[in-house]
């Protein structure tokens, strides 16, 4: 009996030691991550200069209606009459008729400003992030239309499902206090 009790103490000593070790280990993990941390949070964003407008943003987001939308950098826009982001490559006429429009959901609004300039604005509730206009504008125009993760919609998944499917690795984690990677003069980095 006495022998058994001694055994138990040895065992419990080992247990206590291991327990303390584990507690110190978790504490160290916590301490290390807090010490290394200098930011509150990260969010996902698309680098527009890497994006090739492949269309995966439309199909791979975990949301039914993708968190990615097209945005317009007005300062870069040429306000062209013949907008290659708005019109199909060979339009029948340079007007707002549906057969001329490139956008499949009619999310781009074309408004007359002054001769010969037109303003193009995105209606985000209609945009489905297919990237057709982005491709048209980047290849033939100024590239003022580009895709961005809209943070009022984004769920900020730990691993972004679109990032995993992005062929150009354009998605990256950015600090939450500067959650956009804009184009042109708006770009801060």
């Amino acid at each position: 009996m006495a022998d058994k009790q001694e055994n138990m103490t040895r065992r419990s000593f080992l247990r206590e030691g291991l327990w303390g070790g584990c507690l110190v280990g978790t504490g160290a993990a916590a301490g290390l991550s807090v010490a290394r941390n200098n930011r509150d949070n990260y969010v996902w964003q698309i680098d527009p200069y890497k994006c090739i407008a492949c269309g995966n943003c439309m199909t791979h987001c975990v949301l039914e209606d993708s968190a990615v939308k097209c945005v317009q950098a007005y300062a870069m826009c040429g306000y062209c009459d013949l907008c290659t982001g708005y019109l199909v490559p060979e339009p029948k006429a340079l007007d707002t008729a549906a057969e001329n429009a490139l956008c499949p959901t009619g999310a781009i609004k074309r408004t007359y400003v002054e001769d010969p300039y037109y303003e193009y604005t995105i209606d985000e509730s209609l945009c489905n992030a297919c990237g057709k206009c982005v491709k048209g504008c980047t290849v033939f125009g100024n590239g003022s239309l580009f895709l961005q993760v809209r943070h009022d919609r984004c769920k900020n998944c730990n691993e972004c499902a679109i990032a995993a499917a992005c062929p150009s690795q354009a998605f990256k984690r950015v600090p939450a206090d500067q959650p956009y990677l804009l184009k042109g003069a708006d770009r801060k980095e």
Binding site: G27, N38, K50, E90, V139, K155, P167, Q169
Partner: protein, 434 residues
Amino acid sequence: MTRFARAIVFWMTLLIPCMGTQGEIRFPPPEFESGYQLPGTTTPAAQPVWREYVDAAVLVAALLLASYLIHTRRSRRAVFVLMIAALIYFGFVRDGCICPIGAIQNVTLTLFDSGYAIPIAAAIFFVVPLVFTLFCGRVFCGAVCPLGAIQDAVLIHPVAVPRWLESGLRLLAYAYLGAGVLFAATGSAFLICRYDPFVGFFRLGANWNILAVGACLLLIGLFVGRPYCRFLCPYGVILRNLSRLAKRRVTITPTECIQCRLCENVCPFGAIREPTGDWPEGEYRIAKRRLALFLVLFPILVAGGAWGGYSLRNQFARMHPKVRTAERVYLEETAQVEGTTDVSDAFRATGQTTDALYADATQIRSRFAIGGTLFGGFIGLVAGGKLIVLSVRRRRTVYEADPASCFACGRCYKACPKEHERLAKGAKAEARRA
């Protein structure tokens, strides 16, 4: 512009890949005379950070409450209510993200990638359940984890899983943990989040394949208690091993065990171990020989696992997008395939040289050579260790919950006649006081 000229411009520009070129303004922005003001690009703010701190506070509060309900109140009903509340809050309200299971990868990436630092809320989510497990056992699994809760809620007709099958299947969880850490450490992917089977239900929308896997797990979960927790959950692997050392364990009977076996039947997770004595005389010799065999086998398993992991390094490396790009570009450059893909087009648009890409890929592959070896060795270690542990007999005099397998759900309390005696006494004392 005539249509012909437009068509020429169209085809010319198609031939010249110029996506991604920076700062090229083909049509200078106009100077407006009508007083038109340029609108700005709207930038809706990200979710405020305090929400995550609220989540962390809710987590701590829920764990404190769960510990109290399991160890002091000993009430299955209260634990169930807390579990459903946690399922609603962490699952359906907060969309199942942020969770400790995925936080394993954030911690790993912080350790291996100097460019990434884990958000404080994610660090809290990773560490706090571990600390609670060291003190109170797996109260996180039983009452707080939304993934556990959704499975526990659908369990209607539990079927016992044979011990050998349970131990064998549990290897999957160790392998999943190892893979999750390997791919997070190399910056390839967050595997555990990518294949989270239930987050799609919480968000009411996901990839169909993942939803199908989740639905299958829930179907299995009708009959096999918490299949994900027992056989797959990588965080559960850490918790079960810490739980072995827990200060407070689930003690089924409040007084002495009368060996009625009622608790054994009621546990849907096969966590209750029956009393055992020494090996029967005849079996002892066989058991000793078996243990000796497993001890010899142990280093062989570890070495074999490491070798297997090393030989799969190139397959593992393919999880990294850069390696995939390099392989595709190499195939195209050496004319082994025809045509290009989005991946290779995007690479060429960056203007990088293929040599730089190949060098990057080689470096990543060499990281996988080390990581793959460690990963394989880890699996061999777990398999060998498990064989040894299974062939050692522990002496038990009463029915006990195995602290590693016990999810602290509280079902066994209700089954114990001694517990009913205690409750009756408590009720009497209450009545007398009133």
